[in-house]
């Protein structure tokens, strides 16, 4: 006997449309989100939160990158970014962008590069 089918393909575009209320990409505050941006929760999940929001907040008790979140939640980057923008606006999470490579037009900070190098040499 086959398992009951969901009315729509759960990985399909309909699901993304419902999740984001039809928004196609993050605006304003979250438009600079990067795949390596770290997300950290500022609150515990609230009762009655939409499932995906709750899962983001729960998974990000420790900092997790946007890329890891997309993989764990099975959502494309642009859809996840819309949800993260909502949580950022509501103050439920913090986002920390990767340390920029170009600091005021120069290359990356030498101290940072040395820290990366020391970490790699310990591997």
């Amino acid at each position: 006997m086959s398992a009951p089918r969901r009315p729509t393909d759960p990985s399909g575009l309909e699901r993304y449309y419902v999740l984001t209320g039809g928004r196609s990409g993050p605006g304003g505050s979250a438009s600079s989100l990067d795949v390596a941006t770290l997300v950290v929760s500022r609150t515990a999940p609230l009762p009655g939160m939409q499932h995906e929001y709750e899962e983001i907040v729960r998974r990000c008790r420790d900092p997790l990158s946007v890329a890891e979140l997309t993989a764990h939640l099975g959502l494309p980057f642009n859809i996840l970014a819309v949800l993260l923008a909502d949580l950022l606006d509501a103050g439920r999470i913090e986002a920390r962008d990767p340390i920029p490579a170009h600091h005021s037009g120069r290359g990356p900070d030498l101290a940072l590069l040395q820290e990366v190098l020391s970490g790699l040499e310990r591997l």
Binding site: A36, L38, P63, A71, P76, F77, A101, L120
Partner: protein, 201 residues
């Protein structure tokens, strides 16, 4: 640093964790995913992006005109450099035309490793051009496949038209230590560039 109002500098604990990213580029089948796998602390993950029909039309994909959805994936891994610094490694999709899908994939990257299969040098031309166009500092890593002949590095530099300032190293992408050494070569290269930039003119 632009903290965009979401961050609380000085927050103790987990909030202090920072990230840096390095891109692994190169032609199809040059070993990008293999390198991510060999050097990552976590089981490598994949993030997927779906192109809808509308996007496909705009992007004019040869050979996929009949598909309403196309999935493009980005493999990535992570290395904990210390308690508060994470290095994320992203193996870029071989089809460079999809790089736009991830919000400025190379923006904010420290630099890139461009993998080259010495049997098929041409397959990495596009990736090299793209790094130069986007002004991303990079090193070339010759992934030494078991059946390749020895290739003198300077010959390959000429063939790929690589600047004398860009390091070329040989590696075995399957080997963790060898992949790590390529990362070390990249970061050392970045340090030299930064040191030069800091010198008074």
């Amino acid at each position: 640093m632009d903290l965009k109002g979401f961050d609380h500098p000085g927050d103790p604990g987990a909030g202090g964790t920072r990230s840096v990213k390095v891109m692994i580029a190169g032609g199809f089948g040059t070993g990008k995913t293999t390198m991510v796998r060999s050097v990552s602390d976590i089981k490598p993950l994949t993030t997927e992006e779906t192109l809808t029909q509308a996007t496909v039309g705009v992007d004019n994909l040869i050979g996929v005109a009949d598909k309403s959805e196309t999935t493009v994936s980005l493999d990535f891994g992570k290395i904990s450099l210390n308690e508060s610094l994470m290095l994320y490694l992203f193996g870029t999709p071989g089809q460079e035309r999809f790089w736009f899908l991830w919000n400025g994939l190379f923006k904010g990257a420290l630099g890139a490793i461009v993998l080259v299969d010495t049997r098929r040098l041409a397959s990495s031309f596009r990736a090299i051009e793209e790094m130069e166009r986007q002004n991303v500092p990079f090193v070339i890593a010759l992934n030494v496949f078991p059946d390749c002949k020895e290739h003198p590095i300077e010959e390959i530099r000429d063939a790929l038209d690589i600047s004398p300032h860009t390091p070329i190293v040989a590696c075995d992408a399957r080997d963790r230590a060898s992949s790590r050494d390529v990362l070390i070569a990249l970061i050392s290269h970045l340090k030299e560039r930064s040191a030069v930039a800091l010198e008074p003119r």
